[in-house]
């Protein structure tokens, strides 16, 4: 079983690597074709992805919606910045709670590794200024409802993970 590595780079980035035995062409397709994304980008068992829009070209649209089948769900939107077939994807995304969260910049590289693929994903955490702003104003301006929703989602996920 291929092992995932997850590290933080300072307090601004998270870097994830994962090796797949399939070649980059297929791993890239699995990240860019909705019919394939809907089969794996799901989170805990029991969740589905009723909406999956992914236009893998610069300026292309991203919209993913997830549901646990019990009325819990959320969605993200985003834009593709760069899409080099079988090689690299760059995009931005944000959650809607329903207020949009700050943009998260993600760069995903697909590198040939023997006969398989080494995938490297680099995500940008919100910068200190953004986090300061969110922490300072979010509470004052009634993000409680959004936070409560996040907590209930987090709880639903944790309950599933501990029951696995």
């Amino acid at each position: 079983m291929s092992k995932l590595t997850l590290t933080t780079e300072g307090d601004t980035h998270v870097v994830v690597t994962r090796r797949f035995s399939a070649p980059p062409e297929l791993v890239y397709r699995a990240h860019t074709e909705p019919a394939l994304l809907q089969q794996w980008l799901l989170g805990p068992e029991g969740w589905t992805m009723p909406v999956c829009i992914m236009e893998a070209r610069p300026g292309g649209r991203i919209r993913y919606e997830w549901s646990d089948g019990n009325g819990n769900g959320f969605h993200i939107t985003g834009e593709v910045l760069e899409a080099v077939t079988s090689t690299r994807l760059k995009h931005v995304e944000r959650m809607h709670l329903p207020d949009p969260t700050p943009d998260n910049h993600v760069e995903t590289q697909f590198a040939l590794d023997g006969e398989g693929t080494l995938m490297t994903m680099r995500m940008t955490l919100p910068d200190e200024e953004t986090r300061t702003m969110m922490l300072a104003t979010g509470m004052e301006h009634g993000m409680e409802a959004s936070y409560a929703r996040l907590e209930s989602l987090h709880h639903a996920m944790k309950v599933w993970i501990t029951q696995r």
Binding site: M1, S2, L4, L6, T8, D11, V14, V16, R18, F20, S21, A22, P23, E25, L26, V27, R29, A30, L36, Q39, W40, L41, L42, G43, P44, E45, Y64, F74, I76, T85, S86, E93, R94, M95, L97, T101, N104, V106, M121, M123, L125, P126, E128, R131, T132, M134, L135, Y147, L150, E151, L153, H154, M157, K158, I161
Partner: protein, 120 residues
């Protein structure tokens, strides 16, 4: 994606990341790891004002990384180890979720024909 969801659990669940993103605050935590200290004692190594130190302590306290006993004018600060748990929890939740997704992806990839036409 769930990775982003987990990032917002990080923001939601803890001001700890923010608290740790400052070298003065990190140095304060190192000092407190050696034992409780008052605000005046904590200020000593730094060329900043007492109000500035107090602001840093407020951030650390809001993040649950330190606690302060109300003991008159000199309120000793205490390192709270459980404040660091939220970061670990976020990282492990993210890791678990991604491992689930990638295990599924392994299965999806296995079922794909190896010479498939690509559409650009």
């Amino acid at each position: 994606m769930f990775m982003l969801y987990n990032i917002y659990i990080m923001i939601l669940a803890d001001a700890a990341f923010f608290a740790l993103a400052d070298s003065t605050r990190r140095a304060i935590l190192v000092r407190l790891a050696q034992g409780d200290a008052t605000v005046a004692e904590l200020k000593e190594p730094f060329a900043i004002s007492q109000p500035a130190v107090s602001r840093h302590l407020k951030v650390l306290e809001a993040a649950g990384l330190i606690s302060r006993r109300a003991q008159g004018a000199s309120r000793p600060c205490h390192l709270e180890a459980k404040g660091f748990e939220s970061i670990d929890r976020w990282l492990s939740t993210m890791r678990e979720t991604m491992e689930l997704n990638f295990t599924r992806l392994d299965n999806v990839l296995q079922q794909m024909p190896s010479t498939a036409p690509t559409s650009c």
